[in-house]
């Protein structure tokens, strides 16, 4: 049953993206919403979901109320099956073990490229952002889900800098650049769920959250978005999902 209570945009993101995960998958998750969503999926509908963390962790079970500040601290290793070097866990992506790469995003473009390095000209940046971390590796080597807030300044036609590759310039440009595997699968925002056209590799609307209109999405997007012919409406978060999330993040570290 959809919840009748209130929830934050971050909670909506976590719930909607957790529903995209399937039991049995191996998911390489970043910190924040991805970590919460993967743990939510594991707790509610994917008991045999395996989470990987960049610090070098295989199959942990995050403890409610003990969220790690990044994917590199000892809290990430709770109940893990194995810990290994960071290079070795990233190489699992290259070897092909990972079903889904799951990240947050600061800025995305029409072809699903992500920027977390520079705002403005890289030679004289207006803002130097923290950089790729493992983001480039995950996006280069796995099928991706990205969860992020939907704002015009974050959804731009072309990112200033391609930190983590989506479909690059669209068409076959990703494959032709030496990235034959993976690519953007879904973008989950507080307005809806987005996919990519098979041919052009441009972003399109797959579903809207209840009460959101196409015009509203377009207003908050810096490029033209087409709606899929069978565009749907998502089911609002349930009390069960929200309760699980709030137990997991009681201090609202990632769901404020």
């Amino acid at each position: 049953m959809p919840s009748t209570g209130d929830y934050t945009a971050s909670e909506l993101l976590a719930v909607m993206s957790s529903r995209l995960l399937e039991d049995g998958q191996i998911v390489f998750a970043g910190v924040g919403i991805p970590l919460l969503a993967a743990t939510l999926a594991q707790g509610l509908h994917c008991p045999s979901l395996t989470i990987l963390f960049e610090g070098g962790v295989i199959g942990p079970v995050i403890e409610p109320g003990k969220l790690p500040p990044s994917t590199n601290e000892q809290r990430c290793t709770i109940h893990a099956n194995m810990v290994l070097g960071s290079t070795d866990v990233l190489l699992l992506l290259q070897r092909g073990y990972v079903d889904v790469g799951f990240m947050g995003g600061a800025q995305i473009d029409q072809h699903g490229n992500l920027n977390s390095s520079f705002i403005g000209d890289p030679a004289r940046p207006k803002t130097r952002l923290p950089g790729t971390g493992g983001g480039n590796d995950i996006a280069s080597l796995a099928q991706m889900i990205v969860a992020m807030k939907h704002e015009k300044r974050r959804f731009v036609e072309n990112v200033d800098f391609v930190t983590s590759p989506g479909f690059l310039r669209g068409g076959n440009s990703r494959r032709d650049s030496g990235l034959p595997a993976g690519g953007m699968y879904r973008v989950v925002t507080d307005l809806g769920i987005f996919g990519f056209d098979d041919e052009t590799k441009r972003m399109k609307i797959l579903a809207l959250h209840a009460g959101i209109t196409v015009a509203q999405v377009q207003e908050n997007t810096g490029f033209q978005l087409a709606a899929a012919p069978d565009m749907g409406v998502t089911e609002a978060p349930t009390d069960r999902e929200l309760e699980f999330l709030r137990r997991l993040d009681p201090d609202r570290l990632y769901t404020a």
Binding site: G55, K66, C76, T77, S86, N136, R174, G178
Partner: protein
């Protein structure tokens, strides 16, 4: 950064005394092993097993023009930039931590052009240390291709595989002059045992020309020999052993203590509010001011440290 030739690289190892010998010393003595202009590899990742006490000692020794390489860089990077010890950072990510937003210290020094920030993907950093550890000049990999991260790094080269024709990226070996690594325990010879996440540390140790170890505690060589499978860094890679309890504070050391979050909150608010004066205030009070590392820990406070230790030791209770 000129890459030393292969024979030079080998000679730098053979010139060192690699015998099974004691090498316990103070932080100050260990700091004198690092020269201005050195490339320094830093162990741990983000808030974990950061060799904070050793970095603190290098800043107090007024080291200059260091190039600092780490998989992921956190507030120790701020210290190195703000103190003027480091003018080039080689890393995949640099900010205090995602919960504190973007480091204004990093932004101030990098955006003004005072410090160079060479960005590589995390796997590329790992492969560069791995190539260094293997004694080969590069390794091939399949990420960074097509991205602007690659375009910013002419040191990396694209090539088509001579066997399969696949497009690959070749990343050059990184052999730091010195690696700073903090571990839970080691013996007086430098046989080091690491609990929990290893990050890039083992490749980093073997890539470096020498390793300075800091350790929560020194154990006997007999204890090492009872569990040699736990030894992750061999003594002959190590040039110095310094016993520094709470040597990662305010960061964490797996199984021993978690981050001192209160202090991290205080620190990030101070420096992100004013990256120059705030940083100077912090360095004066916490780095240059204390008479010793123990005095630095006194400033963090016994309550805060015991709370961090209680949290760190109870992580495995779950």
């Amino acid at each position: 950064m000129m890459s030393p030739s292969y024979l030079d690289l080998r000679r730098r190892l053979t010139e060192r005394d690699r015998s099974l010998r004691e090498k316990v010393m103070s932080l100050t003595e260990a700091a004198s092993l690092v020269k201005d202009g050195d490339t320094v590899g830093i162990g741990g990742s983000t808030l974990s097993r950061t060799p904070m006490a050793m970095i603190w000692a290098l800043i107090r020794a007024r080291r200059k023009t260091l190039t600092c390489a780490r998989g992921i860089t956190s507030s120790e990077g701020d210290w190195l930039l703000g103190s003027g010890a480091c003018d080039r950072v080689v890393t995949s990510w640099f900010s205090q931590g995602i919960v504190w937003g973007i480091s204004k210290v990093m932004r101030y020094y990098v955006e003004s052009g005072a410090v160079r920030f060479d960005e590589w993907s995390h796997m590329a950093m790992g492969m560069r240390f791995k190539a260094g550890a293997m004694g080969v000049p590069f390794l091939p990999m399949r990420s960074m291709l097509g991205s602007d991260v690659m375009r910013q790094r002419p040191e990396a080269r694209e090539m088509d595989c001579p066997f399969s024709g696949d497009r690959l990226l070749l990343v050059p070996a990184l052999n730091p002059d010195v690696a700073l690594i903090h571990v839970q325990r080691c013996d007086a010879y430098g046989n080091a045992q690491i609990d929990g996440l290893q990050f890039l540390d083992i490749d980093l140790a073997m890539a470096a020309n020498r390793v300075i170890l800091t350790t929560e505690r020194i154990i006997s060589n007999d204890q090492i020999r009872r569990a040699p499978d736990q030894t992750k860094i061999p003594f002959f890679a190590v040039e110095a052993v310094v016993e520094v309890p709470f040597g990662c504070a305010p960061h964490e050391c797996s199984g021993a203590y978690e981050p001192v979050y209160e202090h991290m909150d205080y620190y990030t608010a101070l420096v992100n509010n004013n990256p120059v004066d705030g940083m100077q205030e912090y360095l004066d009070r916490y780095v240059y001011g204390p008479a010793s590392w123990v005095d630095y820990l006194n400033l963090l406070g016994l309550n805060a440290l015991l709370d961090a230790a209680r949290r760190g030791r109870s992580v495995s209770n779950a």
